[in-house]
Symmetry: C2
Subunit: 241 residues, 2 copies
């Protein structure tokens, strides 16, 4: 009887942590989506909202950290129960970073709203945003259902984000070469593209944590990585005007 009580309280504590993660993940999804809308419509008011709402995301990370440490101290879980608790702060940390990246996109949008409009890359940027937002949604679903198959799909999908990032990176460099006066907006778009690519990376980190939570080890197979912008070299075929 007493034993049952302890187990069910433990489950309650675990569910509490899971709810906090879902709440945090939900906020981050909205932040990504709002940052996308603000960026594509160059809407400074919505961008300001994204910036100001980031502190709510940060607070949830602290709440999850405290809940995890409290649960370990109180219940001293072992094996899979322990792993379930241990991954929570790691997942929360990834979500916090994703929130930060969305905030940074919003900050840069405030500058873009005052710059020369460079709208050609909007399509690619919009698709990249949609993809990482969907990956965020799916990896949170995989976390709740302890579904390592969906988690693995998210991991694999990140390669597409990398490909889009590479293409966008090169596209933006050519705009700067064609017209150096476009440097301010293009520079911010380059960092925004990098931020979106990093959000994708964080969803794959969460997928790894789900795998660890379920199987007790991180995935063996290396994640396919195709972001080669660190090695990009543009030949100067376009003569500067």
């Amino acid at each position: 009887m007493n034993d049952e009580h302890i187990v069910s309280s433990f489950d309650e504590d675990l569910n509490n942590i899971a709810s906090l993660i879902l709440e945090m993940g939900g906020l981050v999804e909205v932040q990504i989506s709002d940052a996308r809308t603000a960026l594509l419509s160059r809407d400074p008011n919505l961008a300001e909202q994204v910036v100001s709402k980031d502190s709510g995301v940060d607070k949830l990370e602290t709440a999850i950290d405290n809940a995890a440490v409290g649960l370990i101290a109180k219940r001293q879980p072992v094996a899979r129960d322990l792993r379930t608790v241990v991954v929570a702060p790691k997942i929360a940390h990834n979500l916090e970073r994703m929130g930060d990246l969305a905030k940074n996109i919003a900050k840069r949008t405030l500058v873009l709203a005052r710059s020369q409009p460079i709208t050609a890359p909007n399509n690619t940027i919009g698709r990249m945003c949609d993809m990482v937002q969907q990956m965020t949604n799916e990896v949170l679903g995989a976390y709740v259902k302890r579904d390592t198959v969906v988690a693995e799909q998210v991991r694999q999908r990140d390669e597409e984000v990398d490909y889009m990032h590479n293409a966008l990176f090169r596209e933006l460099l050519t705009y700067i070469m064609e017209d150096p006066r476009a440097i301010t907006p293009c520079m911010h778009l380059l960092f925004i593209a990098k931020n979106i690519e990093r959000i994708g990376d964080h969803t794959t980190n969460i997928a790894d944590q789900i795998h660890f939570m379920v199987h007790g080890e991180v995935p063996e197979q290396e994640r396919p990585k195709s972001d080669d912008t660190s090695s990009t070299m543009i030949e100067n075929e376009i003569e500067p005007r």
Copy 2:
């Protein structure tokens, strides 16, 4: 007697984790220092070494994660002992990211070694690298000694890194505006500068963890942040050639 034995084994396990963190931190310091040397001398061989040595850093993160989870499961520590164990994976994660950033600097150095030489920013970049390497060294010392005063000094010092980053960011933009053919090297230098600034941020995260380990809460005072490159707007006074 038995009690003493348990306590001393616990201390041994804790020391083992601390040793792993110091080993990892030592590797990361060397990676930062080698990435700096490779970058300033445009040395592709040393850059390749930095890239290949990153996996050693990653392995130590996994070792620290496992040691921390094992210790919690075996010893079920509470209060400050528990906090000391809980911060270890967080510190390891920050060190892993710092290693990644050093690797990324090295990757970009491989491109820079084949590009038009832009050496004017070498001084600022060298000073930024020195500063974050010293911050890394000091924050690791603060971790071992549980010295929150030194940890706080590291946190405060990060503002200087931000100031240097802002200046370097603007300097690099002007080079691109003056000569759009310099876009490839300048672009990589911009991302390198951002990487160094991020390494500084990670040392302040570690400082926060030290504060939490000792006092059971994160520092109240907001860290002074002065990186305003997300809002940088360059007026186009320099006409493109």
